[in-house]
């Protein structure tokens, strides 16, 4: 521990702490611009200069590590003048006429810094050089005239996302932020994660959707989680007058530390589906608005003859985006009370069922996502992390510059290929042969028979096998996009290989409550067979073509949904429910974290939460459901430890 004095405060901090962090601990505020807690210290803007007793010149607090007995002064005339000078230089470089800037008023760190120094004017006028505006990106605009070249975006794109799209071109006053080798952002390698937009301290990166719709001081914010997939990234939902304004990554969230993918940040902003606002009943061939009482009694009337009819009763299917308690109530109502043998989820166990079969005798065999960051070698197979569960892909990509070897295995080239030399393109559906080839090579056997089948040369197999074998901390991130005929066998041989290599396993599974659905055994493949009625608890999910088709000839169809769809159009009763932003409930991530999703928006008046609807049905049946969902979820052994 080091003893320091910062202004008049004495404090003890651990070795290696920067002056900026030490000041933070002492409650002394030092203004910064290029620094951001989520990024490595950079020391570019010099706004954080402080006086250190004994040092000849002012020193940047963000990069300077403390030394014992250091005396730091942050409020001297010299420091204050330096800050004003630095701000004046920044203002003079480009166009900072605030009245027509998107972030002016509370969201601009540069303006706030100037206010903090009591600057009423600029001592130096700007040089009036116009810079271009890049409006080629679908989700945001790059306004070079407001850019202060702090490189926060560049560093975020590299350090947090591992995408390396952004960089700087030229030098001095001509320095320009560029995408790739100077192409428009919209045609660059950018994957639209938007982390750069969130981290930009000025109005240089402008989110198209939220621009001019209210600043931090005008909007309310709710911390919750993204329901885009089972990674469970923490988000902040900004809203104003019950309108969704913006989704930001939650910098404090343990799982994602602030980064999001486009599915979490931008896609929900562009909701184009039509909302269901009132219950509807089919009458004379068309759907007519009804009251909740009417709708529920029609449901009951038509369900009654089929209660307890097992395979000739009521088939039910629920979205894996629904909260855990709702899924448990739903299971009780349809399986236990209505006695159906076809109660499942929209995922039909696709990403989880084979895995849990192994958990039954092995117990949990997967690890937490956070293990990725400790890996020196990572293999991915049976999935494409540049398409789904993208943030897990970021965790992997960003390790590559530090020397982590990444081996993505896929049937065709993927977004990962540009970042690693070890991509493996294998024959379609031949993952099993590929794994067997690796296994043989590691065991010192001839792998040529398998390698040939997998479409990879035995030399390449040997190279990869060596890489895996040599690794000290191997993580295999796997999905189940394997040959359907050999799914179980493939997973089995992968587990065997992992055991041999002492590898850690992670599977990101499917949608937000994929694991809960699996634990509740809502994992059957959906078939109507002899069932006469069907209940689809779709929530805000889009119905798949396959499910619409399977339900084509059902005689009585109830759909519980937030939006109009091809399925609601066919329904006999439509029950309108809240979407993900309008309800709260529990979710369990792919790696077993239990998280609460909080309600951010009010729902339309005649819309009920998914929970209310399932409970209303239980009520009609005069039964009380067991509310202890967490126990039910832990009843069966799971592939990963559930908190």
């Amino acid at each position: 521990m080091y003893q320091l004095k910062i202004d008049d405060k004495e404090i003890e901090v651990p070795e290696g702490t920067t002056v900026l962090k030490a000041a933070g601990m002492a409650g002394v505020e030092i203004p910064t611009l290029c620094d951001h807690p989520a990024l490595e210290p950079y020391g570019g803007c010099r706004l954080c200069l402080v006086e250190i007793e004994g040092a000849r010149t002012l020193q940047p607090a963000c990069t300077l590590p403390v030394s014992d007995k250091m005396v730091i002064k942050t409020q001297t005339e010299k420091v204050k003048n330096a800050r004003k000078f630095i701000l004046s230089m920044i203002f003079s470089e480009r166009n900072h006429f605030c009245p027509y800037c998107q972030v002016s008023g509370s969201d601009c760190e540069l303006q706030n810094a100037a206010y903090g120094e009591g600057m009423t004017h600029w001592p130096i006028q700007p040089n009036w050089q116009p810079y271009p505006v890049d409006a080629s990106h679908p989700y945001f605009v790059l306004e070079h005239n407001r850019c202060i070249l702090c490189r926060r975006c560049v560093r975020a794109c590299a350090e947090l996302v591992g995408n390396f799209t952004l960089g700087m071109e030229e030098r001095g006053a001509n320095t320009l932020l560029v995408a790739d080798l100077g192409v428009p952002l919209g045609s660059s390698s950018c994957i639209s994660c938007g982390v750069c937009v969130q981290i930009c301290p000025t109005g240089a990166l402008i989110d198209r959707w939220s621009a001019y719709r209210g600043q931090e001081k005008d909007v309310s914010s709710t911390k919750t989680i993204c329901l885009g997939c089972s990674i469970g990234c923490g988000i902040e939902v900004l809203h104003r007058d019950n309108n969704l304004i913006k989704i930001n990554g939650d910098w404090d969230a343990e799982i994602n530390g602030g980064v999001l993918c486009d599915v979490g940040r931008f896609i929900p902003m562009d909701e184009k589906r039509n909302r269901l606002a009132t219950p509807m009943i089919r009458k004379d061939g068309g759907l007519k608005a009804a009251t909740w009482d009417e709708a529920l009694s029609v449901v009951m009337e038509n369900f009654k003859p089929f209660i307890n009819k097992k395979e000739n009763g009521i088939a039910a299917i629920a979205s894996t985006r629904l909260p855990a308690d709702v899924l448990y109530y739903y299971k009780q109502v349809f399986e236990e009370i209505l006695g159906s043998n076809m109660v499942t989820s929209t995922e039909e166990g696709r990403y989880t069922e084979v895995l849990s079969e192994f958990a039954e005798d092995k117990g949990p065999f997967e690890v937490k996502l956070s293990e990725i960051q400790k890996a020196d070698t990572i293999m991915t197979i049976g999935l494409d992390l540049t398409k789904d569960h993208q943030v897990a892909g970021f965790f992997i990509k960003r390790l590559i510059p530090e020397g982590t070897k990444v081996i993505p295995v896929s049937y065709e080239s993927s977004g990962m290929d540009a970042f690693t030399h070890h991509s493996m393109i294998i024959e379609r559906n031949e993952d099993l042969a590929f794994i067997q080839a690796l296994d043989a090579a590691i065991t010192g056997l001839d792998c040529s028979q398998f390698s040939e089948k997998s479409g990879v040369s035995s030399q390449e197999i040997t190279e990869i096998a060596n890489l895996l074998d040599r690794s000290q901390n191997l993580v295999i991130v796997y999905g189940t996009d394997f040959n359907t005929k050999q799914k179980k066998e493939t997973v089995q041989s992968l587990l065997k290989l992992a055991k041999k290599l002492n590898a850690k396993l992670i599977s990101p599974k499917g949608k937000a409550n994929s694991l809960v659905a699996e634990q509740l055994k809502l994992n059957k493949s959906f078939n109507v067979n002899g069932h006469k009625a069907a209940y689809v608890a779709l929530g805000d999910e889009d119905p798949s073509q396959a499910i619409i088709k399977k339900l084509e000839n059902i005689s009585f169809l109830v759909v519980q949904a937030s939006y109009h769809s091809a399925l609601t159009a066919k329904a006999d009763v439509v029950l309108p429910v809240t979407n993900w932003l309008e309800q709260s409930g529990y979710y369990i991530t792919c790696d077993g974290h239990v998280q609460l999703a909080n309600k951010s928006l009010q729902s339309p008046v005649d819309v009920k939460t998914n929970k209310e609807v399932v409970l209303a049905i239980a009520d009609q049946l005069k039964i009380i459901v067991n509310p202890v969902w967490d126990k039910a979820v832990k009843l069966e052994k799971s592939v990963v430890e559930i908190e």
């Binding site: 166009n95 006429f97 605030c98 009245p99 027509y100 002016s104 008023g105 303006q111 100037a114 206010y115 009591g118 009423t120 004017h121 600029w122 006028q125 009036w128 050089q129 116009p130």
Partner: protein
């Protein structure tokens, strides 16, 4: 004690800062009890007294030779010069044209605008000559900068009442906005 004389004028601005001055509503009476408002675009007298005033207030940037003259005249006749609003302080919205040449701006304004028919750029020698848009402080020394687009009525009231009571107003915290 006699009330301090105050004169105001506007240049390359939109009159918004003077509107904001009027926005202080009935407090204008309080202000008038404290100061002696002489020349201003909203009173009959148009030029600050030759004998001088205590406070001169300028709205707008300086975008031609006439503005230059106005600013110099005000400076020469007042003890304390206040630059009121973003245009006076920074150049403001009119300074957007500095990113183009004067020739380009004139052509855009007098010939190319969608509503113009048979446009031409006026050349009457009586007219002031356009220049780059400058902050007041680029032409004459300014004592007090009051940024804001426009500064709110509260800020203006704060500035005037402080000056009237012989204090130099501090513009900070809640009163400091560049908008």
């Amino acid at each position: 004690m006699s009330k301090p004389k105050v004169a105001t004028d506007w240049m390359a601005g939109c009159a918004g800062c003077h509107m904001s001055l009027l926005d202080i509503d009935e407090r204008i009476l309080q202000v008038l009890e404290l100061i002696d408002l002489r020349a201003s675009p909203i009173t009959d007298l148009k030029e600050a007294d030759e004998s001088g005033v205590v406070v001169g207030v300028l709205e707008g940037g300086i975008n031609n030779t006439a503005n230059e003259h106005q600013a110099k005249l005000m400076r020469s006749r007042c003890k304390i010069l206040v630059a009121l609003g973003d245009c006076a302080v920074f150049g403001g919205v009119p300074a957007m044209r500095n990113f183009f040449t004067i020739e380009e701006s004139l052509r855009r304004a007098y010939i190319e605008t969608e509503s113009t028919v048979d446009g031409f750029i006026p050349t009457d020698p009586e007219l002031a000559v356009p220049t780059r848009v400058r902050a007041v402080s680029e032409v004459v020394p300014v004592d007090i900068h009051v940024p804001g687009c426009p500064p709110s009525a509260d800020v203006i009231f704060h500035v005037l009442s402080e000056l009237a009571q012989g204090r130099i107003p501090e513009i900070k915290d809640e009163n400091l906005h560049w908008h």
